[in-house]
Amino acid sequence: AQSVAQPEDQVNVAEGNPLTVKCTYSVSGNPYLFWYVQYPNRGLQFLLKYITGDNLVKGSYGFEAEFNKSQTSFHLKKPSALVSDSALYFCAVRDRGKAAGNKLTFGGGTRVLVKP
């Protein structure tokens, strides 16, 4: 079975400071990894994904994430947080070794609050 853990329910950071949202995963094979964001009163939006190649993935709104196979992690980062980054962030995993029909599993979400 595949699973995702987001160990922090909430992350507080001051505007302009670096932001990190942690994610670890468990799959039987190699993973596809994703980050999604849910802004207040808006639907879930795709941020970025790791498929293969460079372990550092760049996505929307200045976010990036680093795939670390040995630590089975895919932490989301932003060098300088904005107040508008305040939202609920979800990490997700899919086992690339599975045939058609394998679902995308989400973590429990991390609420990010960026204070001015």
Partner: protein, 116 residues
């Protein structure tokens, strides 16, 4: 349509009544997911349709929950004999994903279900 459409956007029902939630995915998308999000909580997987394959129903919480996808397009999630713990936002998502690729999900705005 341009995006994933869900209806109704809000549904208030009495305990014990049946409800039907509808999802109209993006045209041409082969994969369709239903997730449930309780207040401030993560995304709970419910069911996954992929092309003509048998759906993955492993996330349905009880036999009161069922879903179908007609003609590979519109999907209906049915909850029979609703209970108060069924109150949540029900999210639908679709993607071009064939199961062997890694396309991102496009989410609808959800149906807020309130069981009184």
């Amino acid at each position: 349509g341009a995006g994933v459409s869900q209806s109704p956007s809000n549904k208030v029902t009495e305990k014990g009544k049946d409800v039907e939630l509808r999802c109209d995915p993006i045209s041409g998308h082969t994969a369709l997911y239903w997730y449930r999000q309780s207040l401030g909580q993560g995304l709970e997987f419910l069911i996954y349709f992929q092309g003509n394959s048998a759906p993955d129903k492993s996330g349905l919480p009880s036999d009161r929950f069922s879903a179908e996808r007609t003609g590979g397009s519109v999907s209906t999630l049915t909850i029979q004999r609703t209970q108060q713990e069924d109150s949540a936002v029900y999210l639908c998502a679709s993607s071009l994903d064939s199961g062997m690729t890694n396309e991102k999900l496009f989410f609808g705005s959800g149906t807020q279900l309130s069981v009184l």
